[in-house]
Amino acid sequence: MCGIAGLFLKDRKLEGDLGAMLAGMLSPLNDRGPDSAGFAVYGAEMPGHLKFTLRVPQLFDVEPLLKGLREAVGAPLAHRHHDTHIVASIPADREAPARRALQAFPEVTIVGCGRRMEIFKEVGRPDDVSRRFGLKRMTGTHAIGHTRMATESAVTTNGAHPFTTDEDQCLVHNGSLSNHNAVRRELIKQGLSFQTENDTEVAAGFITAKLRGGCSLRQAMESSLGSLDGFYTFVIGTKAGFGVLRDPIACKPAVMAETEQLVAFGTEYRALVDLPRIESAKVWEPAPAIVYQWELH
């Protein structure tokens, strides 16, 4: 199973510390999720551009990839390397050619895509994963992170959370769904594709399908209560904030804390102990079967 950490900053002065704070939140969650880790950071937007977070295999020669993207984009390519991941900024009107160019590299995975969102995930102990990606130096307004103990699917990078559901959106999950195979078959009929046997990937796909069908995020999350069976705490990252939902039985733990400066989510209180002014924070548990959302204004 898993550990989840989420952090939403109300006070802009803390944005420079976002990554360091999230790394500190993930550290105590190593034990309950030792297999792999991942996080989504919502940082600066380059106007008119989309950020693609790409994962490449070890020892991959990135030059042909970068060349292919530069040609698709028709301009110099702003990009950053973080261990096995590359964040490339693509002009939004060149998204389609960029995606076509990427198809020439089947070993390269698009981990996430968004105006603000960057997703990083890898197999390994969460503290090592944080360190490899340089999480401590990342900045932004909000982030969600996840530490994984695989239950029924393999420990692979693709199986790690977050799973991206749409542009600037992603989902992490603690729990175990029980009807995901049937839901997956339905979603495949609706045109979605899946890379893993993972139940969380199905939940992410479910939300994506609902959003594409015109639902708001709140409506999509509410409809999962009727359609997804099993035990879950979902934390969903969006461009403007994050959402939280626990299943009606609510056996999987969830703690929230709010101060004037931030809203935080942790699977255990231990994830929250080092946050600024936590001693005077309002600490509570989200109620089951209720959608919570926090958004920037």
Partner: protein, 229 residues
């Protein structure tokens, strides 16, 4: 009074020290600093000592407590005072799920709110929650008393056996075989005793509580009860 700082000592060292206390010894007052949400703090104590924990604790604080008084000046995670045998655990903040789970004796007091499944499978513990309790509280509760000064969530007392439940606020829903029962003088006296033990002053009128307990219709498997299973 002895202090242990969990920023420098481990929970394991703390518990080992508390377990080594001899009966009748004079190390009877302990302060624990910087718990920072750690799990299994002050578990399995067997002596009538006082342990004051300054801060929030993780899961199972005071688990299987015997005779000791454990005071948490903060919030408690899942399963606080689980399977307590005797003594007292007092949480000054809120408690997470399964507070007092399977407790056999002693008194658990929560000044704030308790979450879902408060008193689940309780077997004789007394629990007083000054705030509200979440859903499925007193699930399969066998014996003991649960007193709630504010509200109770859905499915209160589902599949309850002989535990007694007293709620002063709103009950959002009753579980299978749990019904309201008359509040008589003996019950009021019981309530008064529990509230006094929990440090709730006399301004709370015991007459404002409603009592809930087992309808005892599920005590034998019968086809007519099929809807309850």
């Amino acid at each position: 009074m002895l202090a242990v700082d969990l920023a420098h000592s481990s929970v394991r060292e703390l518990n080992a020290t508390l377990h080594r206390l001899a009966p009748g010894g004079n190390e009877t007052h302990w302060r624990v600093l910087n718990p920072r949400g750690q799990h299994a703090v002050a578990v399995g104590i067997e002596q009538p000592v006082l342990v004051e924990i300054e801060g929030h604790v993780g899961y199972y604080c005071g688990g299987m407590n015997k005779l000791a008084t454990v005071i948490v000046s903060g919030n408690a995670g899942q399963g606080v005072a689980e399977n307590m045998m005797s003594g007292k655990v007092w949480v000054k903040g809120d408690a997470s799920q399964a507070a007092g789970a399977t407790g056999c004796g002693g008194l658990l007091v929560i000044d704030g709110n308790a979450s879902a499944r408060c008193g689940i499978s309780m077997k004789g513990i007394d629990i007083v929650v000054k705030g509200s309790v979440g859903h499925l509280s007193a699930f399969m509760a066998q014996a003991g008393n649960l007193v709630v000064l504010e509200d109770a969530g859905e499915a209160l007392g589902d599949s309850i056996y002989e535990a007694q439940l007293y709620v002063r606020g709103k009950v959002h829903g009753l579980g299978a075989d749990c019904i309201e029962k008359p509040l008589e003088e003996a019950h009021k006296a019981n309530l008064r005793r529990l509230l006094d033990a929990a440090g709730v002053n006399g301004s709370v009128d015991v007459g404002e509580f409603r009592r809930y307990g087992s309808a005892r219709k599920l005590y034998h498997f019968h086809v007519d009860n099929i809807g309850n299973y």
